[in-house]
Amino acid sequence: MTITELITVILLVVGCFFFLAGTLGVLRFPDLFSRLHALTKADNLGLGFIAAGIALHIASPWSALKIFFIWLFTLLASSTSCYLIAKFQREQHKPQNGKEQE
């Protein structure tokens, strides 16, 4: 096992750990806002680690650039959607007293 492969393995394992953390957060946290927090932070960090590991494994500049842009767009989309969902939820529940089921 070369040193590159070792780094790839470590990066992927760390990425998987953050993905598990994000999923457990979505499952276990009590309300939407804390779930949003868990998902949009941990998962993107995990994706970043996995993307870095695979970019190292593929080792071609063009695809490394593409993977980097995938991660950048995911960060952008994810943080924006976190804000939008949270704002949406607050506005939905402010005028309504009942639960917005379905």
């Binding site: 993905f19 999923t23 949009t40 998962d43 993107n44 996995i50 695979i54 593929i58 969902i85 639960k99």
Partner: protein
């Protein structure tokens, strides 16, 4: 090395299967929409790992497709459902 990639992919698929529980529980639409973000991100990770495992770089295009469309559903929810309450502006 290949066996390791397969384990990673299976682990990520397992993550998606776990996330299905949140689709079942809800309770609001926003909670369920959250899972689509989870599936999207995990799906992109699976596609990237698959691209590394199969050494097939066209798979990255599928990942970008998921990527650029992920925000569409959220904007759709926010804009379409907001109008229901008469709060368009």
């Amino acid at each position: 090395m290949n066996a390791f990639f397969i384990i990673v992919i299976i682990f990520l698929l397992f993550n998606i299967a776990l996330g299905l529980y949140r689709v079942w529980r809800g309770p609001t639409v926003a909670d369920r929409l959250l899972t689509t973000q989870l599936f999207g991100t995990t799906g992109i990770a699976i596609l990237i790992v698959l691209a590394g495992y199969l050494k097939e770089l066209t798979l990255l295009n599928v990942a970008v497709t998921f990527n650029v469309l992920a925000v569409l559903l959220v904007i759709c929810l926010v804009q379409v459902w907001k109008k229901k309450k008469g709060e368009a502006q």
